[in-house]
Subunit: 225 residues, 2 copies
DNA sequence: CGGGCCGATGAGAGACCTCTCATCTTGCTC
DNA sequence: GAGCAAGATGAGAGGTCTCTCATCGGCCCG
């Protein structure tokens, strides 16, 4: 339940998606045109298709329609062009299960992927992430640190969520930037540093370790205690 | 699939929830203490329980625990006190399916209720509301009017959503206020008027009709055309 | 130990967003 | 038609959020 077909012709995005999925435990395969997308999708080798609408060869709508015409129920998440609600509606009516509009943050795509690939689609989604004294309420965008409740802004929350989903792991600024800010954010910015600082201030400096030259790591509160 | 048990001892909130649910097509029954909540829940007459944690007689946690001990899988949405993540976590671990923290906007509760009571829990949730030339993308908080894409703020979007979910129906300022702003907002404010104006400006004045002395009504674009 | 990169930090600009308030306009009632 | 109530509107205060930029500090290497 983790083989994902990514049909996307823009290198930058394809690589961004593939890397991210891989580091989250999935096995992505990339194809860059509509014909291959359809062929691969029909092999039955995949559990999910992430499908760009603007593909060369055969556009995403057509790929999707043909897949559905063949009675194939493979879950499909479409990537639609910037701000095109029309595309979105057309895609959903054409049989897509979900969609993302570009440019998107990786964490958002990941949430949709998780939703579609859960073992038991009936089970309620976890709404609280909890790691050693630090809990994030995914709904209310609030955190609690040893019983104290802290409000986080949207950005702060997204960053904290990324750390909590990869506890103990070193995350590079580049990774954090693309996960939280999206793939087309200025790579020269020190915005990650700034937001790490905000989290340290609000959630406890000892939880966010600097790994010089590499990035940052979220350490379990229990280690620090 | 629409009988809802509401266990809430604060009159104001119970009535707010019951009225709202009724106007959305559900059949709510209100009980105001834990003992009754448990008894009614166990009758099998209900499809969903909205359960306040701070009930007299028997607190919500206990009610929930006993329901689950009796192998009753009735879906439960708990209402937790302001900002208490601890309560939330305890509730979810104790077998709740979902939660709301007070004070909440009615539309949010409604979204959760809809989710739990869908005929087919597998079916993807609708993510676009569409009515006569006006489409709302529930995900990106964007609207499109006859192919033009418009960004809406959070409040604007919530208000527009409320209108689109009750097309053709006159909604009083009071209703709109409690749906969109929550039940403890200053009733003397003209904030609804102001936001209706914003929507008129962004989405077309002709779609939002003033019904003097009553409130506002969303009219289908096709009527106006 | 000196230089230099890497990271930490403070300050603040700019862009919303939400809501209030005062004023203007409209339409209803008598 | 006068007067009043209901609604429309403009302006702006106050807040939050995001991001940039300049500076400070400290670690590592030669």
């Amino acid at each position: 339940m983790n083989r994902i077909l990514v049909a996307e012709d823009e290198d930058r995005i394809a690589s961004f998606v593939a890397k991210g999925l891989r580091s989250s435990g999935y096995s992505p395969t990339v194809v860059t045109d509509g014909i291959s997308a359809f062929d691969y999708a029909m092999t039955g080798e995949f559990d999910l298709l992430v499908l760009d609408i603007g593909l060369p060869g055969m556009d995403g709508f057509t790929v999707l329609r043909r897949i559905r015409q063949a009675r194939n129920t493979l879950p499909v998440i479409i990537l639609t062009a910037r701000q095109s609600i029309t595309d979105t509606v057309a895609g959903l009516e054409g049989g897509a299960d979900d969609y993302m509009s570009k440019p998107f943050r990786f964490e958002e795509l990941l949430a949709r992927v998780r939703l579609r690939l859960r073992d038991d689609p009936h089970a309620p989604e976890p709404t609280v992430l909890d790691h050693g004294g630090l809990a994030l309420d995914l709904r209310s965008r609030r955190a609690s640190v040893d019983d104290r409740t802290v409000d986080l802004s949207a950005r702060e929350f997204a960053l904290a969520e990324t750390f909590l989903r990869h506890p103990g792991q070193v995350l590079s600024r580049e990774q954090l930037l693309s996960h939280v800010w999206g793939y087309d954010f200025d790579p020269g910015s020190n915005i990650v540093d700034v937001y790490v600082r905000y989290l340290r201030r609000k959630l406890g400096a000892e939880r966010f370790e600097t790994v010089r030259g590499m990035g940052y790591r979220f350490v379990d509160g229990s280690e620090a205690g």
